[in-house]
């Protein structure tokens, strides 16, 4: 095997290794579960109030 053939051999081996790595990464990504966003929630505030004092006596039959 001359020098050029050795270089080509090394490059081919590297190509195989990188391709194998690519397969591994692809398989890993395919198994990745990306969570969905679920929106829920409810809030109630019944702390708002209006107040007034009306002076005087209630009339009979009023209201």
């Amino acid at each position: 095997m001359d020098k050029t053939q050795k270089i080509v051999t090394v490059l081919l081996i590297l190509a195989i290794l990188f391709s194998a790595t690519s397969i591994f990464i692809s398989v890993s990504i395919s198994k990745l579960d990306i969570p969905d966003k679920v929106v829920s929630g409810r809030s109630v505030d019944n702390g708002g109030g209006i107040m007034i004092y009306v002076e005087g006596e209630n009339e009979e039959g009023s209201g």
Binding site: S19, I23, S40, N46, G48
Partner: protein, 202 residues
């Protein structure tokens, strides 16, 4: 096996593996795209809940004590602006402020606990309520409801709706104003009503 055959074998293996890798990569990206865009219907392993939270930062409108002026049949009280009182000696008050302090836009309903007759009583009593932005853009009004317009407060109504009440700090507060008319023969003593705001995360 001579050197040429070895190289040929490696080249064939490299091509085969590369083709397989390309196929896997294509399928993975296609799958990832559907996950990111939400095109696929699937089961999530994790649920991220959005918190809906609202709070009355100005919780009470208190007009204090007073009565309809002599010679008048009714008094009018409003919380609009700095508040106003006419034909009566109550103290002017401003409206309620409701803030979205959660982390999500919400839809909003505001309801009252009473109507004019059982809140104020008498002849010709009126009880009106309106919602407006305290910070510009806070409330996107629902269909059939206008911001800044007074509506009759009625327990049987789902009174007011914001389709979207924003949570952004610069636009997360609305104002709730009241306009009431108190006739001279109204109920007397301490009168009041409870205002309830219900928010649902969008």
């Amino acid at each position: 096996m001579n050197d040429s055959n070895l190289l040929l074998g490696l080249a064939v293996i490299a091509v085969v593996v590369s083709v397989i890798a390309a196929g896997f990569t294509y399928l993975s990206i296609a799958s990832l795209t559907t996950k990111i865009s939400g095109l696929a219907i699937g089961t999530a392993n994790l649920t991220v809940e959005t918190q809906a939270s609202i709070n009355f930062t100005t919780a009470v409108v208190n007009w204090g004590s007073g009565k309809v002026n002599d010679g008048q049949t009714q008094a009018h009280l409003s919380t609009v602006g700095a508040g106003s009182v006419s034909n009566g000696n109550w103290t002017a008050a401003t409206g309620l402020i409701l803030e979205n302090n959660g982390n999500s836009n919400v839809s909003l309903n505001i309801t009252v606990g009473k109507n004019a007759s059982n809140f104020i009583g008498g002849t010709g009593s009126l009880y009106f309520i309106n919602v407006s932005d305290n910070e510009v853009g806070a409330c996107t009004n629902a269909s059939g409801f206008a911001l800044g317009l007074f509506y009759s407060a009625n327990t049987s109504n789902t009174l007011l709706n914001c389709n979207s009440f924003r949570f952004d700090e610069a636009a997360d507060a609305i104002r709730i104003d009241f306009n009431i008319t108190i006739p001279e023969n109204s109920l007397k003593g301490a009168l009041g009503d409870i205002i309830t705001a219900t928010a649902t995360a969008l």
